[in-house]
């Protein structure tokens, strides 16, 4: 139980995928303008993450390993991720057109969100069992959502504040991202 908690907190704070590993920075800047949108993006990524990493874990251990074709890992995982994103896209269009429109282009871009592939591959490389895989993935998704929500909350306030003309919108967002990453450095080294 203690181990599970450690992995969860570790992936959320210490090895946060955005701030410590610098993965998934495209939606981090792209969808962090409104808190509500960034929260739904985070949840969509979390959903795809869990589906993708569990599926790819099973495919790896029950298909690739017995057939000794582990070198196909990357391409097979990408195939799985792409199909799952397609599925989520259809599902959202049917059940929640509002969310579908709010996510816009970033929904298909989840396919190319490197966090998804990174988590799937890290699970294999760090030899997690299926329970740890689930926890690790959950932590990764929550960490990403946390990063997005933090950023968007700051950016919503930045919209209203008086900042120099040349720093408006993206430039100030990059500066903010750097400062948050430095703040998260404070967690590093904690195990």
């Amino acid at each position: 139980m203690k181990e599970i908690l450690l992995i969860l907190l570790g992936t959320i704070f210490v090895n946060n995928f955005v701030f410590a590993r610098f993965l998934g920075t495209c939606p981090y800047i792209g969808v962090s303008k409104k808190t509500s949108d960034s929260l739904s993006m985070g949840i969509a990524v979390l959903f795809v993450l869990i589906l993708a990493s569990v599926t790819s874990w099973y495919i790896h251990y029950f298909l690739l390993v017995p057939l000794k074709i582990e070198y196909l890992q990357t391409i097979v995982f990408i195939l799985v991720i792409a199909s799952l994103v397609q599925l989520v896209e259809m599902f959202l269009l049917k059940t929640s057109p509002g969310l579908y429109n709010a996510l816009g282009i970033y929904l298909p871009l989840i396919t190319t969100n490197c966090i998804i592939l990174a988590v799937a591959i890290l699970n294999i490389r760090q030899e997690h069992n299926i329970i740890i895989t689930l926890i690790f993935t959950l932590g990764a998704g929550l960490g990403f959502t946390l990063a997005l929500v933090l950023m968007s909350a700051i950016r919503e306030r930045l919209e209203l504040s008086d900042i120099p003309e040349s720093l408006k919108s993206e430039p100030i967002a990059f500066l903010t991202a750097g400062l948050i990453a430095i703040a998260f450095l404070g967690f590093s080294g904690i195990n």
Partner: protein, 263 residues
């Protein structure tokens, strides 16, 4: 034979995913308005944006939601507008189709250049350097920004002359009008044939120095026109298309041959 296993695994996985997605797309199929597809089919599909909406499908969606009026698409003809209005059950707003003309007909080959221009080969860049590399301050720069801007391929580059607009292909979307840094392109009604192929507001003496076929503002065309469609403003002949009767007297009368008929 080691390649068979990976090939088979990838192939089967792909097949399984494909079938899965196919089934899912049936299950999660969303009912769309059948009128939407019909309207999108009727629109030209060039996504030029002249209607003010993001692409043809954007305009079709706005039409269906009733937030806009028909006939905003300059690229589709009268018949298409009527058909769309019929599908939607609204009144057709049919306006006269327009075509673009370039209001410069001068020689812009190297002997009419101010000096050697070596910058980026676009009209916009050249126009930023002292108003362009052509001696005439109002003339076409000839790099063909309009040619590359036209979504219908209706404008063709000519060396030493302004580009030529193919009236058959021109839909009157007006993108070239906005593109030309010299504001030389005008949309004229497609049932009128004559236009003043010069935009120079310079006095006759200067015009003669920089161009062989520039308008000198002599006013002969204005006097010969049977319906007073032409007038001289700022040393330049101006055509009023409300009055033009396609008589062609101006074309015959112009001593500088700067009134042209479109092809």
């Amino acid at each position: 034979m080691t390649f068979i296993i990976p090939l088979g695994v990838l192939g089967l996985l792909g097949l399984a995913m494909g079938i899965g997605l196919g089934l899912a797309s049936k299950k999660f199929a969303v009912q769309t308005d059948p009128r939407l597809a019909a309207v999108i089919d009727l629109l030209p599909g060039a996504n030029c944006g002249a209607c003010g909406f993001p692409g043809c499908s954007g305009y079709a969606r706005a039409l269906i939601s009733g937030n806009t009026k028909s006939g905003l698409c300059p690229a589709s003809g009268e018949e298409t507008t009527r058909k769309i209005a019929e599908i939607l059950g609204i009144a057709a707003d049919v306006s006269q189709k327009k075509v673009a003309v370039i209001k410069c007909g001068g020689d812009i080959s190297s002997k009419r250049h101010k000096g050697a221009y070596e910058g980026a080969k676009t009209c916009l860049s050249s126009s930023l350097v002292g108003g362009g590399h052509i001696m005439c301050d109002y003339g076409c720069l000839g790099f063909g920004d309009c040619v590359s801007a036209c979504p219908f391929g209706a404008i063709e580059n000519k060396s030493g002359k302004p580009p030529e607009i193919n009236t058959e292909k021109c839909t009157g979307c007006g993108i070239c009008v906005k593109t030309c840094p010299k504001n030389l392109i005008e949309l004229i009604p497609s049932n009128k044939y004559y236009y003043v192929a010069c935009s120079s507001k310079d006095k006759a003496k200067i015009v003669k120095q920089v161009c062989d076929s520039g308008c000198i503002g002599c006013g002969i065309c204005a006097r010969k026109c049977p319906n007073q469609a032409l007038s001289i403003e700022n040393n330049l002949s101006k055509m009023d298309y409300e009055k033009c009767l396609n008589a062609g007297e101006c074309l015959k009368a112009c001593p500088k041959k700067c009134i042209k008929t479109r092809k």
